[in-house]
Symmetry: C2
Subunit: 154 residues, 2 copies
Amino acid sequence: MSHFDRPTTPLPSETVPRTVLLPNFDKRGGVCVAIAQDAGTGQILMQGYADRAAYLETLATGEAVYYSTSRKKRWKKGETSGHVQIVKDVLIDCDGDAIVYVVEQCGSGACHTNAKSCFYRDFQGRPSERVQEGESEKLETIDTPVAGRLVTDP
Amino acid sequence: MSHFDRPTTPLPSETVPRTVLLPNFDKRGGVCVAIAQDAGTGQILMQGYADRAAYLETLATGEAVYYSTSRKKRWKKGETSGHVQIVKDVLIDCDGDAIVYVVEQCGSGACHTNAKSCFYRDFQGRPSERVQEGESEKLETIDTPVAGRLVTDP
Protein backbone atom coordinates (compact mmCIF):
# COMPACT_ATOMS: atom_id res chain seq x y z
CA MET A 1 0.00 0.00 0.00
CA SER A 2 1.16 3.55 -0.61
CA HIS A 3 1.79 5.87 2.27
CA PHE A 4 -1.41 7.66 1.24
CA ASP A 5 -3.36 4.64 2.46
CA ARG A 6 -1.88 4.65 5.92
CA PRO A 7 -4.54 5.03 8.59
CA THR A 8 -4.02 8.23 10.55
CA THR A 9 -5.05 8.58 14.19
CA PRO A 10 -4.72 12.28 15.03
CA LEU A 11 -4.41 13.08 18.72
CA PRO A 12 -7.79 14.44 19.89
CA SER A 13 -7.40 18.05 20.90
CA GLU A 14 -9.16 17.24 24.19
CA THR A 15 -6.10 15.26 25.25
CA VAL A 16 -3.55 17.95 24.39
CA PRO A 17 -2.35 19.44 27.66
CA ARG A 18 -2.36 23.22 27.80
CA THR A 19 -1.02 25.54 30.42
CA VAL A 20 -3.99 27.38 31.88
CA LEU A 21 -4.45 30.02 34.55
CA LEU A 22 -6.05 28.93 37.80
CA PRO A 23 -8.33 31.57 39.32
CA ASN A 24 -7.84 32.23 43.02
CA PHE A 25 -10.57 29.92 44.33
CA ASP A 26 -9.32 30.18 47.93
CA LYS A 27 -10.19 33.88 48.09
CA ARG A 28 -13.91 33.24 48.63
CA GLY A 29 -14.14 29.82 50.20
CA GLY A 30 -13.37 27.67 47.16
CA VAL A 31 -15.58 29.29 44.53
CA CYS A 32 -15.37 32.15 42.05
CA VAL A 33 -18.24 34.07 40.51
CA ALA A 34 -18.89 32.64 37.02
CA ILE A 35 -20.80 34.77 34.52
CA ALA A 36 -22.20 33.33 31.28
CA GLN A 37 -22.25 35.73 28.33
CA ASP A 38 -23.77 35.03 24.91
CA ALA A 39 -20.94 34.72 22.36
CA GLY A 40 -23.11 36.16 19.60
CA THR A 41 -24.96 39.05 21.21
CA GLY A 42 -22.90 39.79 24.33
CA GLN A 43 -26.06 39.44 26.46
CA ILE A 44 -25.35 38.40 30.05
CA LEU A 45 -27.23 35.11 30.41
CA MET A 46 -26.75 34.12 34.05
CA GLN A 47 -24.49 34.35 37.06
CA GLY A 48 -23.38 31.31 38.99
CA TYR A 49 -20.29 30.02 40.72
CA ALA A 50 -17.45 27.68 39.77
CA ASP A 51 -15.05 25.77 41.95
CA ARG A 52 -11.69 24.45 40.71
CA ALA A 53 -13.20 21.16 39.48
CA ALA A 54 -16.04 22.90 37.60
CA TYR A 55 -13.60 25.33 35.96
CA LEU A 56 -11.25 22.55 34.84
CA GLU A 57 -14.12 20.37 33.61
CA THR A 58 -15.38 23.35 31.59
CA LEU A 59 -11.97 23.80 29.98
CA ALA A 60 -11.60 20.08 29.33
CA THR A 61 -15.05 19.52 27.83
CA GLY A 62 -15.88 22.90 26.29
CA GLU A 63 -19.30 22.90 27.99
CA ALA A 64 -20.10 25.15 30.96
CA VAL A 65 -19.95 23.51 34.38
CA TYR A 66 -20.75 25.38 37.60
CA TYR A 67 -20.79 24.68 41.33
CA SER A 68 -24.18 24.99 43.03
CA THR A 69 -23.61 26.83 46.32
CA SER A 70 -27.13 25.89 47.48
CA ARG A 71 -26.91 22.17 46.67
CA LYS A 72 -23.17 22.20 47.41
CA LYS A 73 -22.35 20.11 44.35
CA ARG A 74 -21.15 20.16 40.75
CA TRP A 75 -23.74 21.54 38.37
CA LYS A 76 -23.36 20.82 34.66
CA LYS A 77 -25.56 23.39 32.89
CA GLY A 78 -28.19 21.62 30.78
CA GLU A 79 -27.42 18.16 32.12
CA THR A 80 -31.13 17.50 32.66
CA SER A 81 -32.76 20.18 30.43
CA GLY A 82 -30.41 19.68 27.50
CA HIS A 83 -29.87 23.45 27.46
CA VAL A 84 -26.09 23.12 27.58
CA GLN A 85 -23.70 26.02 27.06
CA ILE A 86 -21.00 25.49 24.41
CA VAL A 87 -18.02 27.46 25.69
CA LYS A 88 -16.22 29.58 23.09
CA ASP A 89 -13.87 31.40 25.43
CA VAL A 90 -13.12 31.78 29.14
CA LEU A 91 -11.96 35.09 30.63
CA ILE A 92 -10.53 35.78 34.09
CA ASP A 93 -10.55 39.16 35.83
CA CYS A 94 -7.62 41.23 37.11
CA ASP A 95 -7.65 39.94 40.66
CA GLY A 96 -8.40 36.38 39.63
CA ASP A 97 -11.65 35.77 41.47
CA ALA A 98 -14.22 36.08 38.68
CA ILE A 99 -14.70 34.12 35.47
CA VAL A 100 -16.64 34.82 32.26
CA TYR A 101 -17.82 31.86 30.20
CA VAL A 102 -18.43 33.14 26.65
CA VAL A 103 -20.99 30.65 25.39
CA GLU A 104 -23.42 29.50 22.75
CA GLN A 105 -26.62 28.82 24.72
CA CYS A 106 -28.49 25.72 23.49
CA GLY A 107 -32.27 25.33 23.85
CA SER A 108 -34.75 28.02 24.90
CA GLY A 109 -32.31 29.82 27.15
CA ALA A 110 -30.21 29.91 30.29
CA CYS A 111 -33.05 30.64 32.73
CA HIS A 112 -35.37 28.14 34.44
CA THR A 113 -38.23 30.46 33.42
CA ASN A 114 -37.37 29.68 29.78
CA ALA A 115 -36.15 33.23 29.24
CA LYS A 116 -32.95 33.51 27.21
CA SER A 117 -31.33 35.34 30.13
CA CYS A 118 -31.94 35.21 33.89
CA PHE A 119 -31.71 39.03 33.78
CA TYR A 120 -35.12 39.45 32.11
CA ARG A 121 -36.45 42.31 34.28
CA ASP A 122 -35.23 45.74 35.20
CA PHE A 123 -35.09 47.46 38.59
CA GLN A 124 -38.78 48.36 38.33
CA GLY A 125 -39.82 44.83 37.42
CA ARG A 126 -40.45 45.75 33.80
CA PRO A 127 -39.88 42.62 31.73
CA SER A 128 -37.09 42.72 29.16
CA GLU A 129 -38.07 39.20 28.06
CA ARG A 130 -41.23 37.10 28.31
CA VAL A 131 -41.03 34.65 31.19
CA GLN A 132 -43.32 31.96 32.55
CA GLU A 133 -45.83 33.15 35.17
CA GLY A 134 -44.82 32.75 38.77
CA GLU A 135 -41.45 31.15 38.15
CA SER A 136 -39.37 34.14 39.14
CA GLU A 137 -38.75 35.12 42.74
CA LYS A 138 -41.17 37.76 44.02
CA LEU A 139 -39.12 40.61 45.40
CA GLU A 140 -39.95 43.31 47.92
CA THR A 141 -40.74 46.67 46.34
CA ILE A 142 -40.17 50.10 47.87
CA ASP A 143 -40.69 53.69 46.83
CA THR A 144 -37.38 55.44 46.37
CA PRO A 145 -36.03 58.46 44.51
CA VAL A 146 -34.69 57.35 41.14
CA ALA A 147 -32.49 59.33 38.76
CA GLY A 148 -34.25 60.56 35.64
CA ARG A 149 -31.92 58.72 33.33
CA LEU A 150 -33.01 55.46 34.92
CA VAL A 151 -36.74 55.91 34.55
CA THR A 152 -37.07 56.76 30.86
CA ASP A 153 -39.06 53.94 29.31
CA PRO A 154 -37.19 51.71 26.87
CA MET B 1 -45.83 90.94 35.70
CA SER B 2 -47.54 88.52 33.34
CA HIS B 3 -47.86 84.88 34.21
CA PHE B 4 -45.10 84.21 31.59
CA ASP B 5 -42.67 85.90 33.93
CA ARG B 6 -43.42 83.66 36.87
CA PRO B 7 -40.38 81.75 38.02
CA THR B 8 -40.86 78.01 37.55
CA THR B 9 -39.19 75.45 39.80
CA PRO B 10 -39.73 72.06 38.13
CA LEU B 11 -39.42 69.04 40.42
CA PRO B 12 -36.01 67.43 39.74
CA SER B 13 -36.49 63.88 38.46
CA GLU B 14 -34.13 62.69 41.21
CA THR B 15 -36.78 63.48 43.76
CA VAL B 16 -39.63 61.68 42.01
CA PRO B 17 -40.29 58.51 43.99
CA ARG B 18 -40.49 55.31 41.95
CA THR B 19 -41.46 51.83 43.01
CA VAL B 20 -38.38 49.67 42.56
CA LEU B 21 -37.56 46.02 43.15
CA LEU B 22 -35.30 45.21 46.05
CA PRO B 23 -32.92 42.31 45.35
CA ASN B 24 -32.70 39.67 48.07
CA PHE B 25 -29.63 41.01 49.87
CA ASP B 26 -30.15 38.70 52.87
CA LYS B 27 -29.50 35.62 50.75
CA ARG B 28 -25.72 36.07 50.81
CA GLY B 29 -24.96 38.04 53.94
CA GLY B 30 -26.18 41.46 52.85
CA VAL B 31 -24.65 41.73 49.38
CA CYS B 32 -25.54 40.73 45.84
CA VAL B 33 -23.15 40.18 42.95
CA ALA B 34 -23.12 43.35 40.82
CA ILE B 35 -21.88 43.11 37.22
CA ALA B 36 -21.06 46.20 35.15
CA GLN B 37 -21.75 45.87 31.42
CA ASP B 38 -20.90 48.47 28.76
CA ALA B 39 -24.14 49.97 27.45
CA GLY B 40 -22.67 50.45 23.98
CA THR B 41 -20.70 47.27 23.30
CA GLY B 42 -22.14 44.78 25.81
CA GLN B 43 -18.61 44.09 27.08
CA ILE B 44 -18.53 42.90 30.70
CA LEU B 45 -16.42 45.54 32.45
CA MET B 46 -16.12 44.29 36.03
CA GLN B 47 -17.74 42.27 38.77
CA GLY B 48 -18.25 43.63 42.24
CA TYR B 49 -20.85 43.54 44.98
CA ALA B 50 -23.66 45.83 46.08
CA ASP B 51 -25.48 46.05 49.38
CA ARG B 52 -28.91 47.63 49.80
CA ALA B 53 -27.47 51.12 50.34
CA ALA B 54 -25.17 50.91 47.29
CA TYR B 55 -28.04 49.67 45.10
CA LEU B 56 -30.40 52.44 46.22
CA GLU B 57 -27.68 55.11 45.88
CA THR B 58 -27.04 53.86 42.33
CA LEU B 59 -30.74 54.19 41.47
CA ALA B 60 -30.98 57.60 43.11
CA THR B 61 -27.86 59.12 41.53
CA GLY B 62 -27.58 57.24 38.22
CA GLU B 63 -23.90 56.49 38.92
CA ALA B 64 -22.67 53.02 39.89
CA VAL B 65 -22.04 52.45 43.59
CA TYR B 66 -20.73 49.15 44.98
CA TYR B 67 -19.91 47.63 48.35
CA SER B 68 -16.27 46.64 48.87
CA THR B 69 -16.27 43.24 50.60
CA SER B 70 -12.55 43.59 51.36
CA ARG B 71 -12.69 47.11 52.84
CA LYS B 72 -16.22 46.43 54.14
CA LYS B 73 -17.50 49.82 53.02
CA ARG B 74 -19.40 51.71 50.34
CA TRP B 75 -17.42 52.08 47.13
CA LYS B 76 -18.48 54.73 44.63
CA LYS B 77 -16.85 53.73 41.35
CA GLY B 78 -14.57 56.54 40.10
CA GLU B 79 -14.86 58.60 43.28
CA THR B 80 -11.06 59.07 43.35
CA SER B 81 -10.10 58.21 39.73
CA GLY B 82 -12.95 60.11 38.12
CA HIS B 83 -13.72 56.98 36.08
CA VAL B 84 -17.35 56.95 37.11
CA GLN B 85 -19.97 54.70 35.55
CA ILE B 86 -23.10 56.44 34.25
CA VAL B 87 -25.89 53.92 34.77
CA LYS B 88 -28.29 53.51 31.84
CA ASP B 89 -30.23 50.55 33.18
CA VAL B 90 -30.27 48.12 36.08
CA LEU B 91 -31.32 44.48 35.67
CA ILE B 92 -32.08 41.89 38.35
CA ASP B 93 -31.92 38.13 37.87
CA CYS B 94 -34.66 35.52 38.31
CA ASP B 95 -33.84 34.60 41.89
CA GLY B 96 -33.08 38.17 42.90
CA ASP B 97 -29.51 37.83 44.07
CA ALA B 98 -27.56 39.29 41.14
CA ILE B 99 -27.61 42.75 39.57
CA VAL B 100 -26.39 44.08 36.21
CA TYR B 101 -25.47 47.76 35.96
CA VAL B 102 -25.66 48.72 32.26
CA VAL B 103 -23.24 51.64 32.15
CA GLU B 104 -21.32 54.22 30.19
CA GLN B 105 -17.76 53.88 31.51
CA CYS B 106 -15.98 57.22 31.87
CA GLY B 107 -12.20 57.59 31.64
CA SER B 108 -9.73 54.93 30.51
CA GLY B 109 -11.78 52.03 31.78
CA ALA B 110 -13.21 50.08 34.68
CA CYS B 111 -10.00 48.28 35.66
CA HIS B 112 -7.25 49.56 37.98
CA THR B 113 -4.78 48.38 35.30
CA ASN B 114 -6.30 51.00 32.98
CA ALA B 115 -7.81 48.29 30.80
CA LYS B 116 -11.37 49.01 29.64
CA SER B 117 -12.48 45.76 31.28
CA CYS B 118 -11.12 43.80 34.25
CA PHE B 119 -11.61 40.69 32.08
CA TYR B 120 -8.63 41.50 29.82
CA ARG B 121 -7.07 38.01 29.72
CA ASP B 122 -8.29 34.58 28.77
CA PHE B 123 -7.86 31.24 30.57
CA GLN B 124 -4.36 30.87 29.13
CA GLY B 125 -3.31 34.36 30.18
CA ARG B 126 -3.46 35.68 26.64
CA PRO B 127 -4.24 39.38 26.81
CA SER B 128 -7.47 40.56 25.22
CA GLU B 129 -6.53 44.15 26.12
CA ARG B 130 -3.28 45.95 26.88
CA VAL B 131 -2.76 46.35 30.62
CA GLN B 132 -0.09 47.95 32.76
CA GLU B 133 2.83 45.70 33.70
CA GLY B 134 2.59 43.93 37.01
CA GLU B 135 -0.72 45.37 38.10
CA SER B 136 -2.75 42.21 37.64
CA GLU B 137 -2.71 39.34 40.12
CA LYS B 138 -0.25 36.60 39.19
CA LEU B 139 -2.16 33.33 39.09
CA GLU B 140 -1.01 29.73 39.44
CA THR B 141 -0.75 27.89 36.12
CA ILE B 142 -1.23 24.16 35.55
CA ASP B 143 -1.12 21.81 32.59
CA THR B 144 -4.55 20.41 31.86
CA PRO B 145 -6.40 18.90 28.91
CA VAL B 146 -8.33 21.59 27.10
CA ALA B 147 -11.10 21.20 24.52
CA GLY B 148 -10.07 22.11 21.00
CA ARG B 149 -12.75 24.77 20.65
CA LEU B 150 -11.14 26.60 23.54
CA VAL B 151 -7.61 26.73 22.22
CA THR B 152 -8.07 28.13 18.75
CA ASP B 153 -6.35 31.49 18.66
CA PRO B 154 -8.61 34.55 18.38
